[in-house]
Symmetry: C2
Subunit: 320 residues, 2 copies
Protein backbone atom coordinates (compact mmCIF):
# COMPACT_ATOMS: atom_id res chain seq x y z
CA UNK A 1 0.00 0.00 0.00
CA UNK A 2 1.06 3.59 -0.64
CA UNK A 3 0.69 6.14 2.13
CA UNK A 4 0.82 9.80 1.13
CA UNK A 5 2.08 12.49 3.52
CA UNK A 6 2.03 16.23 3.11
CA UNK A 7 5.51 17.29 4.18
CA UNK A 8 4.87 21.02 3.99
CA UNK A 9 1.85 21.22 6.34
CA UNK A 10 2.06 22.04 10.03
CA UNK A 11 3.61 24.67 12.25
CA UNK A 12 6.95 22.81 12.32
CA UNK A 13 7.08 21.64 8.71
CA UNK A 14 9.01 20.29 7.03
CA UNK A 15 11.35 19.33 9.91
CA UNK A 16 8.89 17.59 12.23
CA UNK A 17 7.03 15.95 9.39
CA UNK A 18 10.12 14.43 7.76
CA UNK A 19 11.38 13.31 11.17
CA UNK A 20 7.99 11.70 11.90
CA UNK A 21 8.13 9.92 8.55
CA UNK A 22 11.66 8.69 9.27
CA UNK A 23 10.58 7.41 12.70
CA UNK A 24 7.57 5.68 11.15
CA UNK A 25 9.70 3.67 8.74
CA UNK A 26 10.78 1.08 11.26
CA UNK A 27 7.20 0.53 12.38
CA UNK A 28 5.39 0.20 9.05
CA UNK A 29 4.42 -3.12 7.48
CA UNK A 30 6.60 -4.67 4.78
CA UNK A 31 4.24 -3.69 1.98
CA UNK A 32 3.89 -0.07 3.01
CA UNK A 33 5.53 2.65 0.92
CA UNK A 34 5.64 6.22 2.15
CA UNK A 35 5.04 8.85 -0.54
CA UNK A 36 6.18 12.32 0.47
CA UNK A 37 4.59 15.41 -1.12
CA UNK A 38 6.68 18.52 -0.78
CA UNK A 39 9.81 20.43 -1.69
CA UNK A 40 12.32 17.74 -2.72
CA UNK A 41 15.36 19.80 -1.80
CA UNK A 42 14.08 20.47 1.72
CA UNK A 43 13.04 16.85 2.21
CA UNK A 44 16.47 15.61 1.19
CA UNK A 45 18.13 18.19 3.42
CA UNK A 46 16.06 17.05 6.41
CA UNK A 47 16.92 13.41 5.73
CA UNK A 48 20.62 14.14 5.35
CA UNK A 49 20.60 16.13 8.56
CA UNK A 50 19.10 13.10 10.28
CA UNK A 51 21.57 10.76 8.58
CA UNK A 52 18.73 8.95 6.88
CA UNK A 53 18.78 7.44 3.40
CA UNK A 54 16.03 9.38 1.62
CA UNK A 55 15.75 6.82 -1.18
CA UNK A 56 13.52 4.84 1.22
CA UNK A 57 10.85 7.44 0.45
CA UNK A 58 9.12 8.11 -2.79
CA UNK A 59 9.19 11.89 -3.20
CA UNK A 60 6.67 13.85 -5.27
CA UNK A 61 8.16 17.29 -5.70
CA UNK A 62 5.79 20.22 -5.25
CA UNK A 63 6.53 23.94 -5.44
CA UNK A 64 3.71 25.56 -3.47
CA UNK A 65 2.48 25.51 0.12
CA UNK A 66 -1.02 26.23 1.44
CA UNK A 67 -0.36 28.35 4.48
CA UNK A 68 -2.49 28.42 7.62
CA UNK A 69 -3.29 32.05 6.77
CA UNK A 70 -4.59 31.19 3.29
CA UNK A 71 -8.31 30.97 2.64
CA UNK A 72 -8.61 27.18 2.48
CA UNK A 73 -11.07 26.74 -0.38
CA UNK A 74 -9.50 29.48 -2.52
CA UNK A 75 -5.99 28.23 -1.88
CA UNK A 76 -7.08 24.72 -2.79
CA UNK A 77 -8.28 26.02 -6.16
CA UNK A 78 -5.38 28.35 -6.84
CA UNK A 79 -2.28 26.61 -5.47
CA UNK A 80 -2.46 23.72 -7.88
CA UNK A 81 1.13 22.68 -7.30
CA UNK A 82 0.84 22.70 -3.51
CA UNK A 83 1.63 19.57 -1.54
CA UNK A 84 -2.00 19.20 -0.41
CA UNK A 85 -3.57 19.64 -3.85
CA UNK A 86 -1.05 17.32 -5.55
CA UNK A 87 -1.57 14.81 -2.74
CA UNK A 88 -5.32 14.85 -3.26
CA UNK A 89 -4.92 14.40 -7.00
CA UNK A 90 -2.81 11.33 -6.30
CA UNK A 91 -5.45 10.08 -3.86
CA UNK A 92 -8.31 10.65 -6.29
CA UNK A 93 -6.49 8.74 -9.03
CA UNK A 94 -5.50 5.99 -6.58
CA UNK A 95 -1.82 6.68 -7.07
CA UNK A 96 -1.82 6.60 -3.25
CA UNK A 97 -4.20 4.73 -0.93
CA UNK A 98 -4.46 7.26 1.89
CA UNK A 99 -3.32 10.80 2.66
CA UNK A 100 -2.29 12.55 5.86
CA UNK A 101 -1.38 16.15 6.66
CA UNK A 102 -0.80 18.37 9.69
CA UNK A 103 -1.41 21.38 7.48
CA UNK A 104 -4.47 23.54 6.81
CA UNK A 105 -7.52 21.68 8.13
CA UNK A 106 -9.73 23.73 5.83
CA UNK A 107 -7.72 22.80 2.74
CA UNK A 108 -7.70 19.12 3.78
CA UNK A 109 -11.49 19.22 4.17
CA UNK A 110 -11.84 21.00 0.83
CA UNK A 111 -9.87 18.17 -0.75
CA UNK A 112 -11.90 15.54 1.08
CA UNK A 113 -15.22 17.06 0.06
CA UNK A 114 -14.51 18.19 -3.49
CA UNK A 115 -11.70 15.97 -4.81
CA UNK A 116 -12.16 12.65 -3.00
CA UNK A 117 -15.85 13.34 -2.28
CA UNK A 118 -18.32 11.87 0.20
CA UNK A 119 -19.30 8.24 -0.18
CA UNK A 120 -22.62 7.92 -2.00
CA UNK A 121 -25.39 7.87 0.60
CA UNK A 122 -23.44 9.76 3.24
CA UNK A 123 -25.40 12.93 4.03
CA UNK A 124 -22.45 14.63 5.74
CA UNK A 125 -18.97 13.27 6.43
CA UNK A 126 -17.59 13.71 9.94
CA UNK A 127 -14.26 14.15 11.66
CA UNK A 128 -13.62 12.01 14.70
CA UNK A 129 -11.23 11.93 17.62
CA UNK A 130 -10.19 9.38 20.20
CA UNK A 131 -10.64 10.36 23.83
CA UNK A 132 -8.97 8.51 26.73
CA UNK A 133 -11.00 6.37 29.12
CA UNK A 134 -10.24 5.66 32.77
CA UNK A 135 -10.36 1.96 31.90
CA UNK A 136 -7.13 2.45 29.93
CA UNK A 137 -8.99 2.11 26.65
CA UNK A 138 -10.31 4.90 24.41
CA UNK A 139 -13.61 6.05 22.96
CA UNK A 140 -14.34 7.67 19.63
CA UNK A 141 -16.04 11.07 19.62
CA UNK A 142 -17.70 12.38 16.46
CA UNK A 143 -18.33 14.85 14.91
CA UNK A 144 -15.64 17.09 16.38
CA UNK A 145 -16.12 20.09 14.15
CA UNK A 146 -17.02 19.45 10.54
CA UNK A 147 -20.78 20.04 10.84
CA UNK A 148 -21.85 22.49 13.52
CA UNK A 149 -25.54 21.97 12.76
CA UNK A 150 -26.59 18.33 12.39
CA UNK A 151 -30.01 16.88 11.69
CA UNK A 152 -31.06 13.59 13.31
CA UNK A 153 -30.42 11.48 10.20
CA UNK A 154 -26.88 12.87 10.03
CA UNK A 155 -26.26 11.94 13.67
CA UNK A 156 -27.71 8.50 12.98
CA UNK A 157 -25.16 7.98 10.22
CA UNK A 158 -22.42 9.11 12.60
CA UNK A 159 -23.45 6.12 14.70
CA UNK A 160 -22.73 3.86 11.73
CA UNK A 161 -19.43 5.58 10.87
CA UNK A 162 -18.28 5.58 14.47
CA UNK A 163 -19.18 1.95 15.11
CA UNK A 164 -17.25 0.78 12.04
CA UNK A 165 -14.23 2.90 12.89
CA UNK A 166 -14.18 1.72 16.52
CA UNK A 167 -14.52 -1.87 15.34
CA UNK A 168 -11.78 -1.75 12.72
CA UNK A 169 -9.39 0.78 14.22
CA UNK A 170 -9.89 0.43 17.98
CA UNK A 171 -10.38 -3.35 17.86
CA UNK A 172 -13.80 -3.59 19.49
CA UNK A 173 -16.01 -6.46 18.42
CA UNK A 174 -19.32 -4.66 18.98
CA UNK A 175 -18.73 -1.02 19.95
CA UNK A 176 -21.33 0.54 22.24
CA UNK A 177 -22.69 3.68 20.60
CA UNK A 178 -24.13 6.43 22.79
CA UNK A 179 -25.70 9.79 22.07
CA UNK A 180 -24.21 12.69 24.03
CA UNK A 181 -27.08 14.30 25.88
CA UNK A 182 -28.06 16.23 29.03
CA UNK A 183 -30.02 13.44 30.67
CA UNK A 184 -30.18 9.68 30.54
CA UNK A 185 -33.87 9.40 29.69
CA UNK A 186 -35.21 9.29 26.13
CA UNK A 187 -37.24 12.48 26.51
CA UNK A 188 -34.27 14.57 27.68
CA UNK A 189 -32.23 16.82 25.44
CA UNK A 190 -32.64 19.42 22.75
CA UNK A 191 -34.91 19.08 19.72
CA UNK A 192 -32.25 17.32 17.66
CA UNK A 193 -31.14 14.75 20.26
CA UNK A 194 -34.73 13.85 21.14
CA UNK A 195 -35.44 13.03 17.50
CA UNK A 196 -32.10 11.29 17.11
CA UNK A 197 -32.81 9.04 20.07
CA UNK A 198 -36.00 7.87 18.35
CA UNK A 199 -34.06 6.96 15.22
CA UNK A 200 -31.23 5.25 17.09
CA UNK A 201 -33.21 3.24 19.60
CA UNK A 202 -34.38 0.77 16.96
CA UNK A 203 -31.09 0.67 15.11
CA UNK A 204 -29.90 -2.65 13.74
CA UNK A 205 -26.89 -0.90 12.20
CA UNK A 206 -25.06 -0.49 15.51
CA UNK A 207 -25.45 -1.27 19.19
CA UNK A 208 -27.15 1.81 20.62
CA UNK A 209 -26.79 2.03 24.40
CA UNK A 210 -28.77 5.25 24.92
CA UNK A 211 -27.75 8.68 26.10
CA UNK A 212 -24.45 9.45 27.77
CA UNK A 213 -23.99 12.49 30.02
CA UNK A 214 -20.78 14.48 30.02
CA UNK A 215 -19.66 13.41 33.50
CA UNK A 216 -19.46 9.83 32.18
CA UNK A 217 -17.55 10.62 28.99
CA UNK A 218 -14.24 9.29 30.28
CA UNK A 219 -15.46 6.49 32.52
CA UNK A 220 -15.65 3.90 29.77
CA UNK A 221 -18.49 2.26 31.63
CA UNK A 222 -21.13 2.86 29.01
CA UNK A 223 -19.84 3.86 25.60
CA UNK A 224 -17.09 3.26 23.03
CA UNK A 225 -18.49 5.65 20.43
CA UNK A 226 -20.01 9.00 21.38
CA UNK A 227 -22.15 10.73 18.80
CA UNK A 228 -22.82 14.46 18.82
CA UNK A 229 -22.91 17.40 16.42
CA UNK A 230 -19.74 19.19 15.38
CA UNK A 231 -20.43 22.17 17.59
CA UNK A 232 -20.75 20.21 20.83
CA UNK A 233 -18.09 17.68 19.83
CA UNK A 234 -15.55 20.40 19.13
CA UNK A 235 -16.23 22.02 22.49
CA UNK A 236 -15.98 18.70 24.36
CA UNK A 237 -12.73 17.85 22.60
CA UNK A 238 -11.09 21.23 23.20
CA UNK A 239 -12.16 21.17 26.85
CA UNK A 240 -10.71 17.67 27.18
CA UNK A 241 -7.43 18.63 25.50
CA UNK A 242 -7.16 21.59 27.88
CA UNK A 243 -7.00 19.06 30.73
CA UNK A 244 -3.57 18.01 29.54
CA UNK A 245 -2.26 21.55 29.35
CA UNK A 246 -3.76 22.46 32.72
CA UNK A 247 -2.29 19.33 34.33
CA UNK A 248 1.13 20.21 32.90
CA UNK A 249 0.80 23.79 34.13
CA UNK A 250 -0.07 22.46 37.58
CA UNK A 251 2.96 20.13 37.51
CA UNK A 252 0.70 17.09 37.56
CA UNK A 253 2.26 14.06 35.89
CA UNK A 254 -0.56 11.55 35.81
CA UNK A 255 -0.87 8.66 33.39
CA UNK A 256 -4.55 9.37 32.71
CA UNK A 257 -4.30 13.14 32.30
CA UNK A 258 -1.23 12.65 30.11
CA UNK A 259 -3.45 10.71 27.73
CA UNK A 260 -5.31 13.92 26.88
CA UNK A 261 -2.15 14.81 24.94
CA UNK A 262 -3.24 14.89 21.29
CA UNK A 263 0.22 13.74 20.18
CA UNK A 264 -0.63 10.20 21.17
CA UNK A 265 -3.58 9.98 18.84
CA UNK A 266 -1.97 10.80 15.52
CA UNK A 267 -4.71 12.68 13.80
CA UNK A 268 -8.35 13.19 13.09
CA UNK A 269 -9.85 10.89 10.47
CA UNK A 270 -12.32 12.25 7.95
CA UNK A 271 -15.05 9.61 7.91
CA UNK A 272 -17.56 9.07 5.13
CA UNK A 273 -15.35 10.05 2.19
CA UNK A 274 -13.96 7.83 -0.57
CA UNK A 275 -10.43 7.44 0.80
CA UNK A 276 -8.62 7.36 4.14
CA UNK A 277 -7.76 10.93 5.07
CA UNK A 278 -6.15 11.90 8.35
CA UNK A 279 -5.69 15.48 9.55
CA UNK A 280 -2.98 16.07 12.13
CA UNK A 281 -2.68 18.81 14.73
CA UNK A 282 -1.00 21.95 13.40
CA UNK A 283 1.62 21.82 16.14
CA UNK A 284 2.36 18.13 15.48
CA UNK A 285 5.57 16.80 16.96
CA UNK A 286 7.52 14.04 15.17
CA UNK A 287 5.74 11.55 17.49
CA UNK A 288 2.32 12.87 16.46
CA UNK A 289 3.33 12.63 12.79
CA UNK A 290 4.53 9.06 13.21
CA UNK A 291 1.23 8.13 14.86
CA UNK A 292 -0.68 9.88 12.09
CA UNK A 293 1.16 7.84 9.49
CA UNK A 294 0.58 4.56 11.35
CA UNK A 295 -3.09 5.45 11.70
CA UNK A 296 -3.33 6.08 7.95
CA UNK A 297 -1.63 2.75 7.25
CA UNK A 298 -4.08 0.94 9.50
CA UNK A 299 -7.09 2.64 7.90
CA UNK A 300 -5.88 1.41 4.51
CA UNK A 301 -5.05 -2.09 5.82
CA UNK A 302 -8.44 -2.68 7.43
CA UNK A 303 -10.22 -1.36 4.33
CA UNK A 304 -12.03 1.27 6.34
CA UNK A 305 -13.65 2.93 3.32
CA UNK A 306 -14.84 -0.34 1.77
CA UNK A 307 -16.33 -1.48 5.07
CA UNK A 308 -18.16 1.81 5.50
CA UNK A 309 -19.60 1.48 2.01
CA UNK A 310 -20.76 -2.07 2.76
CA UNK A 311 -22.40 -1.05 6.04
CA UNK A 312 -24.08 1.89 4.40
CA UNK A 313 -25.42 -0.29 1.61
CA UNK A 314 -26.84 -2.74 4.14
CA UNK A 315 -28.41 0.02 6.18
CA UNK A 316 -29.95 1.91 3.32
CA UNK A 317 -33.40 0.58 3.97
CA UNK A 318 -33.17 1.78 7.56
CA UNK A 319 -32.57 5.43 6.84
CA UNK A 320 -35.32 7.46 5.37
CA UNK B 1 -33.83 39.90 55.39
CA UNK B 2 -35.48 36.50 55.50
CA UNK B 3 -33.78 33.57 53.78
CA UNK B 4 -35.92 30.50 53.12
CA UNK B 5 -34.43 27.01 53.00
CA UNK B 6 -36.07 23.76 52.00
CA UNK B 7 -34.95 21.34 54.71
CA UNK B 8 -36.46 18.23 53.10
CA UNK B 9 -34.76 18.42 49.69
CA UNK B 10 -31.55 16.61 48.80
CA UNK B 11 -30.14 13.11 48.99
CA UNK B 12 -29.01 13.62 52.59
CA UNK B 13 -31.97 15.63 53.88
CA UNK B 14 -32.83 16.68 56.47
CA UNK B 15 -29.51 15.94 58.25
CA UNK B 16 -27.09 17.71 55.89
CA UNK B 17 -29.45 20.60 55.29
CA UNK B 18 -30.04 21.36 58.96
CA UNK B 19 -26.31 21.03 59.65
CA UNK B 20 -25.55 23.40 56.77
CA UNK B 21 -28.07 25.89 58.18
CA UNK B 22 -26.50 25.59 61.64
CA UNK B 23 -23.02 26.17 60.19
CA UNK B 24 -24.31 29.18 58.22
CA UNK B 25 -25.59 30.94 61.34
CA UNK B 26 -22.21 32.20 62.48
CA UNK B 27 -21.47 33.60 59.04
CA UNK B 28 -24.70 35.43 58.22
CA UNK B 29 -25.19 39.17 58.60
CA UNK B 30 -26.91 40.57 61.68
CA UNK B 31 -30.16 41.27 59.90
CA UNK B 32 -30.47 37.83 58.31
CA UNK B 33 -33.11 35.41 59.57
CA UNK B 34 -33.14 31.81 58.38
CA UNK B 35 -36.60 30.38 57.71
CA UNK B 36 -36.66 26.59 57.55
CA UNK B 37 -39.38 24.80 55.58
CA UNK B 38 -39.85 21.18 56.60
CA UNK B 39 -40.92 18.65 59.20
CA UNK B 40 -40.65 20.50 62.52
CA UNK B 41 -40.05 17.35 64.55
CA UNK B 42 -37.16 16.24 62.36
CA UNK B 43 -35.64 19.72 62.29
CA UNK B 44 -35.71 19.94 66.08
CA UNK B 45 -34.26 16.43 66.39
CA UNK B 46 -31.37 17.36 64.06
CA UNK B 47 -30.68 20.53 66.04
CA UNK B 48 -30.77 18.73 69.37
CA UNK B 49 -28.43 16.06 68.06
CA UNK B 50 -26.02 18.83 67.10
CA UNK B 51 -26.51 20.56 70.47
CA UNK B 52 -27.88 23.61 68.71
CA UNK B 53 -30.61 25.92 69.97
CA UNK B 54 -33.30 25.58 67.29
CA UNK B 55 -35.09 28.76 68.40
CA UNK B 56 -32.51 30.64 66.32
CA UNK B 57 -34.44 29.42 63.29
CA UNK B 58 -37.92 30.26 62.25
CA UNK B 59 -39.53 26.95 61.34
CA UNK B 60 -42.45 26.61 58.94
CA UNK B 61 -43.81 23.13 59.45
CA UNK B 62 -44.70 21.17 56.32
CA UNK B 63 -46.01 17.62 56.03
CA UNK B 64 -45.11 16.57 52.50
CA UNK B 65 -41.90 16.05 50.53
CA UNK B 66 -41.38 16.24 46.76
CA UNK B 67 -39.16 13.26 46.08
CA UNK B 68 -36.54 13.05 43.34
CA UNK B 69 -38.64 10.27 41.79
CA UNK B 70 -41.79 12.45 41.63
CA UNK B 71 -42.83 14.09 38.37
CA UNK B 72 -41.75 17.66 39.21
CA UNK B 73 -44.62 19.66 37.70
CA UNK B 74 -47.31 17.24 38.87
CA UNK B 75 -45.82 17.01 42.37
CA UNK B 76 -45.66 20.79 42.53
CA UNK B 77 -49.39 20.95 41.83
CA UNK B 78 -50.41 18.04 44.05
CA UNK B 79 -48.13 18.19 47.09
CA UNK B 80 -49.45 21.53 48.29
CA UNK B 81 -48.05 21.10 51.79
CA UNK B 82 -44.58 20.13 50.65
CA UNK B 83 -41.58 22.15 51.79
CA UNK B 84 -40.89 23.39 48.25
CA UNK B 85 -44.47 24.48 47.47
CA UNK B 86 -44.93 26.17 50.86
CA UNK B 87 -41.55 27.84 50.42
CA UNK B 88 -42.54 29.23 47.03
CA UNK B 89 -45.82 30.53 48.38
CA UNK B 90 -43.86 32.39 51.05
CA UNK B 91 -41.52 33.73 48.37
CA UNK B 92 -44.37 34.86 46.09
CA UNK B 93 -46.04 36.71 48.99
CA UNK B 94 -42.69 38.20 50.08
CA UNK B 95 -42.88 36.45 53.45
CA UNK B 96 -39.29 35.48 52.59
CA UNK B 97 -36.83 37.33 50.34
CA UNK B 98 -35.07 34.37 48.74
CA UNK B 99 -35.39 30.58 48.64
CA UNK B 100 -32.84 27.77 48.36
CA UNK B 101 -33.18 24.02 48.02
CA UNK B 102 -31.04 20.99 47.24
CA UNK B 103 -34.18 19.07 46.34
CA UNK B 104 -35.92 18.35 43.06
CA UNK B 105 -34.49 20.69 40.42
CA UNK B 106 -37.61 20.21 38.33
CA UNK B 107 -39.92 21.23 41.18
CA UNK B 108 -37.73 24.24 41.97
CA UNK B 109 -37.90 25.32 38.34
CA UNK B 110 -41.67 24.76 38.29
CA UNK B 111 -41.92 27.08 41.29
CA UNK B 112 -39.61 29.63 39.70
CA UNK B 113 -41.53 29.67 36.42
CA UNK B 114 -45.13 29.39 37.59
CA UNK B 115 -45.22 30.80 41.13
CA UNK B 116 -42.48 33.43 41.19
CA UNK B 117 -42.54 33.85 37.40
CA UNK B 118 -40.05 35.34 34.94
CA UNK B 119 -39.32 39.04 35.09
CA UNK B 120 -41.36 40.93 32.50
CA UNK B 121 -39.30 41.19 29.34
CA UNK B 122 -37.20 38.10 30.03
CA UNK B 123 -37.77 35.68 27.15
CA UNK B 124 -36.36 32.69 29.03
CA UNK B 125 -34.79 32.57 32.49
CA UNK B 126 -31.49 30.72 32.85
CA UNK B 127 -29.59 28.77 35.44
CA UNK B 128 -25.94 29.64 35.93
CA UNK B 129 -22.88 28.11 37.50
CA UNK B 130 -19.49 29.35 38.58
CA UNK B 131 -16.48 27.61 37.08
CA UNK B 132 -12.95 27.93 38.46
CA UNK B 133 -10.26 29.88 36.61
CA UNK B 134 -6.53 29.27 36.66
CA UNK B 135 -6.11 32.88 37.76
CA UNK B 136 -7.68 31.92 41.11
CA UNK B 137 -10.87 33.73 40.20
CA UNK B 138 -14.06 32.27 38.75
CA UNK B 139 -16.25 32.73 35.68
CA UNK B 140 -20.00 32.43 35.30
CA UNK B 141 -21.35 29.93 32.78
CA UNK B 142 -24.96 30.17 31.62
CA UNK B 143 -27.33 28.59 30.71
CA UNK B 144 -26.35 25.26 32.27
CA UNK B 145 -29.49 23.33 31.52
CA UNK B 146 -32.77 25.21 31.67
CA UNK B 147 -33.18 25.84 27.93
CA UNK B 148 -31.64 23.25 25.66
CA UNK B 149 -32.65 25.15 22.53
CA UNK B 150 -31.94 28.88 22.62
CA UNK B 151 -32.55 31.52 19.99
CA UNK B 152 -30.09 34.40 19.53
CA UNK B 153 -32.22 36.94 21.43
CA UNK B 154 -32.36 34.55 24.40
CA UNK B 155 -28.57 34.20 24.39
CA UNK B 156 -28.26 37.97 24.13
CA UNK B 157 -30.33 38.35 27.31
CA UNK B 158 -28.12 35.77 29.00
CA UNK B 159 -25.29 38.21 28.37
CA UNK B 160 -27.21 40.85 30.36
CA UNK B 161 -28.15 38.44 33.17
CA UNK B 162 -24.63 37.06 33.41
CA UNK B 163 -22.96 40.45 33.42
CA UNK B 164 -25.17 41.71 36.24
CA UNK B 165 -24.68 38.55 38.29
CA UNK B 166 -20.90 38.62 37.83
CA UNK B 167 -20.83 42.29 38.76
CA UNK B 168 -22.95 41.99 41.89
CA UNK B 169 -22.09 38.50 43.09
CA UNK B 170 -18.53 37.95 41.83
CA UNK B 171 -17.45 41.52 42.43
CA UNK B 172 -16.30 42.44 38.94
CA UNK B 173 -16.61 46.08 37.90
CA UNK B 174 -17.14 45.39 34.19
CA UNK B 175 -17.38 41.66 33.52
CA UNK B 176 -16.10 40.48 30.15
CA UNK B 177 -18.88 38.55 28.40
CA UNK B 178 -17.94 35.94 25.79
CA UNK B 179 -19.94 33.64 23.56
CA UNK B 180 -18.88 29.97 23.72
CA UNK B 181 -18.06 28.97 20.16
CA UNK B 182 -15.89 26.71 18.01
CA UNK B 183 -13.70 29.40 16.57
CA UNK B 184 -12.59 32.87 17.48
CA UNK B 185 -13.77 34.60 14.30
CA UNK B 186 -17.23 36.12 13.90
CA UNK B 187 -18.21 33.83 11.04
CA UNK B 188 -17.44 30.62 12.97
CA UNK B 189 -20.01 28.53 14.78
CA UNK B 190 -23.44 27.06 14.30
CA UNK B 191 -26.44 28.93 12.97
CA UNK B 192 -27.42 30.22 16.40
CA UNK B 193 -24.00 31.44 17.55
CA UNK B 194 -23.36 33.20 14.24
CA UNK B 195 -26.57 35.19 14.63
CA UNK B 196 -25.93 35.76 18.34
CA UNK B 197 -22.50 37.22 17.60
CA UNK B 198 -24.14 39.79 15.32
CA UNK B 199 -26.50 40.83 18.13
CA UNK B 200 -23.80 40.92 20.79
CA UNK B 201 -21.05 42.71 18.91
CA UNK B 202 -22.85 46.04 19.08
CA UNK B 203 -24.10 45.57 22.64
CA UNK B 204 -24.11 48.54 24.97
CA UNK B 205 -25.73 46.40 27.68
CA UNK B 206 -22.55 44.50 28.49
CA UNK B 207 -18.91 44.31 27.49
CA UNK B 208 -18.82 41.71 24.72
CA UNK B 209 -15.33 40.35 24.13
CA UNK B 210 -16.16 37.95 21.28
CA UNK B 211 -16.07 34.19 21.02
CA UNK B 212 -14.34 31.95 23.51
CA UNK B 213 -13.20 28.43 22.60
CA UNK B 214 -13.43 25.58 25.07
CA UNK B 215 -9.69 25.21 25.58
CA UNK B 216 -9.68 28.73 27.06
CA UNK B 217 -12.68 28.27 29.36
CA UNK B 218 -10.59 28.00 32.51
CA UNK B 219 -7.72 30.30 31.61
CA UNK B 220 -9.46 33.47 32.80
CA UNK B 221 -7.55 35.38 30.14
CA UNK B 222 -10.53 36.45 28.12
CA UNK B 223 -13.89 36.05 29.86
CA UNK B 224 -15.72 36.39 33.18
CA UNK B 225 -19.13 35.41 31.80
CA UNK B 226 -19.56 32.64 29.26
CA UNK B 227 -22.84 32.50 27.37
CA UNK B 228 -24.14 29.35 25.72
CA UNK B 229 -27.37 27.39 25.39
CA UNK B 230 -28.51 25.01 28.11
CA UNK B 231 -27.53 21.93 26.13
CA UNK B 232 -23.91 22.93 25.63
CA UNK B 233 -23.65 24.59 29.04
CA UNK B 234 -24.87 21.49 30.83
CA UNK B 235 -22.36 19.33 28.97
CA UNK B 236 -19.47 21.73 29.67
CA UNK B 237 -20.39 21.90 33.36
CA UNK B 238 -20.74 18.14 33.83
CA UNK B 239 -17.47 17.54 32.00
CA UNK B 240 -15.81 20.13 34.24
CA UNK B 241 -17.25 18.62 37.41
CA UNK B 242 -15.97 15.21 36.31
CA UNK B 243 -12.46 16.66 36.48
CA UNK B 244 -12.75 16.79 40.24
CA UNK B 245 -13.94 13.21 40.54
CA UNK B 246 -11.29 11.97 38.12
CA UNK B 247 -8.57 13.87 39.98
CA UNK B 248 -9.74 12.33 43.27
CA UNK B 249 -9.81 8.86 41.70
CA UNK B 250 -6.26 9.40 40.46
CA UNK B 251 -5.16 10.53 43.94
CA UNK B 252 -4.41 14.00 42.65
CA UNK B 253 -4.74 16.67 45.33
CA UNK B 254 -4.35 19.89 43.40
CA UNK B 255 -5.68 23.26 44.45
CA UNK B 256 -7.05 24.03 40.99
CA UNK B 257 -8.65 20.65 40.27
CA UNK B 258 -10.14 20.69 43.78
CA UNK B 259 -12.00 23.83 42.78
CA UNK B 260 -14.10 21.78 40.35
CA UNK B 261 -15.81 20.46 43.49
CA UNK B 262 -19.36 21.75 43.27
CA UNK B 263 -19.58 21.93 47.08
CA UNK B 264 -17.58 25.13 47.02
CA UNK B 265 -20.08 26.96 44.88
CA UNK B 266 -23.22 26.63 46.91
CA UNK B 267 -25.82 26.29 44.24
CA UNK B 268 -27.14 27.27 40.89
CA UNK B 269 -29.03 30.56 40.73
CA UNK B 270 -32.15 30.85 38.62
CA UNK B 271 -31.68 34.15 36.81
CA UNK B 272 -34.40 36.24 35.26
CA UNK B 273 -37.21 35.44 37.73
CA UNK B 274 -38.85 37.75 40.28
CA UNK B 275 -36.96 36.55 43.36
CA UNK B 276 -33.56 35.07 44.30
CA UNK B 277 -33.79 31.31 43.90
CA UNK B 278 -30.85 28.98 44.38
CA UNK B 279 -30.86 25.28 43.53
CA UNK B 280 -28.27 23.12 45.30
CA UNK B 281 -26.74 19.84 44.20
CA UNK B 282 -28.79 16.80 45.20
CA UNK B 283 -25.84 15.29 47.03
CA UNK B 284 -25.11 18.53 48.90
CA UNK B 285 -22.86 18.25 51.93
CA UNK B 286 -23.35 20.57 54.91
CA UNK B 287 -20.59 22.77 53.44
CA UNK B 288 -22.45 23.02 50.11
CA UNK B 289 -25.67 23.91 51.97
CA UNK B 290 -23.91 26.60 53.98
CA UNK B 291 -22.49 28.10 50.79
CA UNK B 292 -25.92 27.93 49.16
CA UNK B 293 -27.43 29.87 52.06
CA UNK B 294 -24.66 32.51 51.99
CA UNK B 295 -25.15 32.84 48.24
CA UNK B 296 -28.88 33.40 48.72
CA UNK B 297 -28.19 35.99 51.39
CA UNK B 298 -25.81 37.84 49.07
CA UNK B 299 -28.29 37.79 46.17
CA UNK B 300 -30.87 39.41 48.43
CA UNK B 301 -28.38 41.90 49.87
CA UNK B 302 -27.13 43.14 46.48
CA UNK B 303 -30.71 43.41 45.19
CA UNK B 304 -29.95 41.10 42.30
CA UNK B 305 -33.53 40.96 41.02
CA UNK B 306 -34.06 44.73 41.18
CA UNK B 307 -30.77 45.34 39.35
CA UNK B 308 -31.73 42.87 36.63
CA UNK B 309 -35.06 44.64 36.17
CA UNK B 310 -33.32 48.00 35.89
CA UNK B 311 -30.83 46.73 33.35
CA UNK B 312 -33.57 45.11 31.35
CA UNK B 313 -35.60 48.27 31.33
CA UNK B 314 -32.61 50.24 30.10
CA UNK B 315 -31.82 47.71 27.39
CA UNK B 316 -35.33 47.33 26.04
CA UNK B 317 -34.71 49.51 23.06
CA UNK B 318 -31.72 47.39 22.13
CA UNK B 319 -33.53 44.10 21.82
CA UNK B 320 -35.94 43.63 18.96
Amino acid sequence: MRIGIDIMGGDYAPGNIVQGAIDACGRLGAGSQLVLFGDQRQIIACCEKAGFDYSVFEIVHTTEVIEMSDHPAKAFQQKTDSSIVVGFKALATQAIDGFASAGSTGAMLAGAMYTVRPIEGIIRPAIASDIPLLTGSRALLLDVGLNADCKPDVLYQYGILGAIYAHLMNGLETPRVALLNIGSEEEKGNLVTKETFKLMKDSTDFLFVGNIEAHNLFSGKTADVIVTDGFVGNIVLKQAEANYRIAKKRNIDDEFFNRFNYELYGGTPVLGVNAPIIIGHGASSPLAVTNMILQTEQAIKVQLVTKIKEALYKSKTNIT
